[in-house]
């Protein structure tokens, strides 16, 4: 059974895009953490733990939240059968550096526990899994750049080896002020209507993923 892209969410360059349509944006040059806070507030998310997360987890969490939020896609009626497969280039280095700053001096050696607990990229996937009750495959893989072959290959494997009903997969990258998130909600072709979307355009293959990734180059203010 072929896999289809049911929905996708893209957070880059101070804007949030869902299925190719801009749903939120800021024109100012706000710092990444302030922009992410604005996204949280704009979508009226009520999850205080968000504020305790590191930048990478915040970015992944928000993207998943928008992807799975209102209107909730039909595929997520059984969240326990949902998988999460994320990729990025910088792993958790953004928070690793902040943690290192707290331990680099012998005289000022005060490691922050709340920073330390995020010094693994898998924590981001864990935060999403906890929030949505997803108990399927849960992985974060590191690749030099957005790699659609890797994302498609691993996701297909997860569908073949586990009884997933849906999977969130894609790219969540954060390092200092540079952030990029592009996540896809992928499900099996179960005959449900996908509105006006053409079947060819939503087939879950590397070509369609790369097309979405490159779309940022065509974004206009």
């Amino acid at each position: 059974m072929p896999l289809l892209i049911r929905k996708y969410c893209d957070i880059r360059k101070q804007r949030v895009v869902v299925d190719g349509k801009k749903v939120f944006g800021q024109e100012d040059d706000a710092a990444a953490r302030l922009f992410l806070k604005s996204v949280y507030r704009h979508f009226r998310i009520d999850y205080p733990k968000f504020f305790k997360m590191d930048g990478l987890s915040k970015l992944g969490f928000l993207t998943a939240e928008i992807l799975l939020g209102d209107p909730a896609p039909a595929q997520i009626h059984a969240p326990e059968n949902g998988g999460i497969i994320l990729t990025n280039a910088s792993s958790s280095v953004d928070i690793d550096k902040k943690h290192f700053d707290t331990i680099k001096s012998r005289e000022q050696y005060f490691p922050s526990p709340s920073n330390f607990v995020y010094t693994l990229p898998n924590i981001m996937a864990g935060e999403i899994a906890i929030r949505h009750g997803m108990k399927g495959e849960n992985s974060v893989l590191i690749s030099r750049q957005f790699d659609p072959e890797l994302i498609v290959g691993i996701t297909r494997l997860a569908f073949e080896t586990e009884s997933l009903t849906f999977c969130i997969c894609g790219w969540v990258e954060m390092n200092d002020e540079h952030y990029e998130s592009l996540l896809f909600l992928v499900g099996q072709d179960d005959g449900l209507s996908d509105g006006d979307k053409s079947r060819e355009d939503i087939i879950f293959d590397p070509l369609n993923l790369m097309k979405r990734y490159k779309a940022v180059n065509e974004w206009k203010n």
Partner: protein, 84 residues
């Protein structure tokens, strides 16, 4: 004491990332854990670091933490008694 309590509230909001809160939202006598601010075990560790980093107070016996971190006021009292 009230000045220290106010300062502690500001520090707690900062280190625990309680971004939705103002110092005035924290009751000086309310429990910090459980039904109060709903802090968790990582927050407890962060408060231990706060005492050591900002006030030079090291908690030797973790069992003491339950009393010390009961409320902002008990924290302030402990700091007043133990700060060198």
């Amino acid at each position: 004491m009230e000045e220290l309590i106010q300062k502690l509230k500001e520090e707690i909001i900062e280190v625990l990332n309680l971004e939705e809160m103002e110092p005035g939202d924290i009751d000086s006598d309310a429990p910090l854990f459980g039904e109060g601010l709903g802090l968790d075990s990582i927050d407890a560790l962060e408060l231990i670091v706060l005492l050591e980093k900002n006030y030079g107070i090291k908690i030797e016996d973790p069992k003491d933490g339950r009393k010390i971190f009961f409320s902002v006021r008990t924290m302030a009292e402990y700091i007043t008694e133990h700060q060198k």
